[in-house]
Symmetry: C2
Amino acid sequence: MIPMGQRARVASRILARASAEQKTAVMLSMADKISAEIDQILSSNREDLKKGIEAGLSESLLDRLALNVPRLEGIIADLRNVARLPDPVGENFDEAILPNGLRVSKRRVPLGVLAVIYEARPNVTIDVAALAIKTGNAVILKGGTETINTNRELVKMIRSALLECNLPADAVQFVDDPDRARVGELLEMHQYIDMVIPRGGAGLHQYCRENSSIPVITGGIGICHLFVDESADLEAALEVIQNAKLQRPTVCNALDTTLIHQAIAREFIPRLVECLAEHGVTFRADETALELLQNHPTGTRILPAGPNDFDTEWLSLILGLKVVQNLDEAIEHISIHSTGHSDGILTEDEPNARRFIDEVDSAAVYVNASTRFTDGGQLGLGAEVAISTQRLHARGPMGLRELTTYKWVIRGENHIRV
Amino acid sequence: MIPMGQRARVASRILARASAEQKTAVMLSMADKISAEIDQILSSNREDLKKGIEAGLSESLLDRLALNVPRLEGIIADLRNVARLPDPVGENFDEAILPNGLRVSKRRVPLGVLAVIYEARPNVTIDVAALAIKTGNAVILKGGTETINTNRELVKMIRSALLECNLPADAVQFVDDPDRARVGELLEMHQYIDMVIPRGGAGLHQYCRENSSIPVITGGIGICHLFVDESADLEAALEVIQNAKLQRPTVCNALDTTLIHQAIAREFIPRLVECLAEHGVTFRADETALELLQNHPTGTRILPAGPNDFDTEWLSLILGLKVVQNLDEAIEHISIHSTGHSDGILTEDEPNARRFIDEVDSAAVYVNASTRFTDGGQLGLGAEVAISTQRLHARGPMGLRELTTYKWVIRGENHIRV
């Protein structure tokens, strides 16, 4: 692993000075190669799927690792999209001329070498390589064992695109070894790696945070809340909650808990349950909500909330329901149970909206919108490498700019400090 | 330590919502209290000095821990200065209305809880507490054993100023225990601490990086270079180098190595040596420089550079000298030996200046100026909590803004994701 780190460091220095045109050319060449080699990629992917079935992987995992022509076309379209985004490297900002005449500015530069540790989905291989190249960073990829054949094939194409554009192939390297011990070794290589991005479950994030001597971007774990205030437009609230819960229930910004103001609970909760139950949602309700639903026709779908239910990221068709006395109790509940990912209020009351924004300390705080918008693509970043729920460097969706750092550039006329 | 962390977390939530006026009032009250209690502070400080002398601390360490009336007046002036700076908390930026009508912005918010681990100088206690309060962060201070009496006295005043302004005293806590094991415990408390800032030698930084599950701001170690290009104004270069080496030789942005273009080496090096030698500087010269100095009158001050001399942060009146063939060799030397703190070129050639800026990847890159300007106060930040030589979150001098993070604020009209 050490030589791999050394090669990445050397490659990163060259990539950092590549022009925007050169980097765009690599991405377009990657897109062409994937396009031209679809059969070869699908055949490697079938090998992975076959081994996955033999190994007894779950349906959902097999689905995540499977490629097909439409999925590959999506990957190619995303690549061409990233290629078109403006290059953040070299941008100057915070420019100033100081009273003594020193000219000071900051210049955006690549971070250096990234390590990305991920599972299953092979599209991450292409996404991450494209974002790294675009931002002038070298990257070491450690994908899941279950996609090793597909990833090997994709990385071959990426490296050949780099070479074709006179850039070092080692700008994108791949840990071609299924052994998980390699992850631990990566996390120790702080001389060669500048940032670790785990993309996977809470266990992987915790492991990286606890075992890394390199800064780790933790995130992607969302226990997300919507609070239906007394003044909310209840019709609209039903739609927003339905969207937040159902549009894609298995992702981190899907809704986990709905908090309902007691003044509207009696009217709203039965309607909410009815509207979601018909889409297969089941509920974990606090005592008050449970009482309001006592004789509800969908009663079998409603369980009393257990002690850990409000601290669970459901990633499925389960929704927590809790009646709160007022905005204070809603904010208090969120401050205790939220993972700081995405939380929102549905209200027509502007002072309440402001208090919620001021007092809820999550990466994304919403007023009258679905939590599903926490996504680089949806929030105007053009692309996304991860969603950070930590507080340093970057918070919430991370796009191109968040894969850069800056240096201070100071120009004088032989200035000395007095 | 855990209850201390819990108290800090609770206090941080209250401090995060304090108004700019309230925070300013705390700082002004701190200044008044220090002013009123100078005798009490000096008496605690004398206790520390007495114990320090008994324990055989070095002259320079005793000097760093000593307070006197002018030093306390300096601390009070700095406090009033920080109080006057604009409050970064609550600032909105990157505002946009997306095509679907969602209104998106980022709002600057405090990081939460800081832990600062430092040695000797008691002014750090006041500086750091002021910067933390200003930015709405709670802070846990772990000062050096040798200043425990002085720090205890200062922290008492800070906490009483907080209470007086209706803010929780626990916003500033002090580990009143000389045992170094407490540092290890702090570094594990990631539930309660958001950022660790070590202020001390390379050993402390390394210990923190290797043992912390909390993000650590490493920095403050500078092996700094100036390259005298063929086209440099040699008279001016002498002055700049003299300033970078002599203005304060014991700090991280003082000059360590001078690289000299071979075309001017024969003329420049003897003059440089003459001019610095009379201020007590001694030299570690590479073979070529040594040859040029063979019959120099200050010969006894010049030693051949040993194998580690170009990788040493001198923090004293020693200067490395090396003759390079050209700009490429200078950049190459810096890329190998610099700690990425502060490096500069002295040149009248604009293309060379540009290449140096583009290719030298240090936190601060200089053209025609002394490296001694790498300092928050000198570069217009108004105050400084640390100088970061890592790449994430903040690089170079860190001021108030670098002690904050942001949250995304997203306002819709019951928007759903399609």
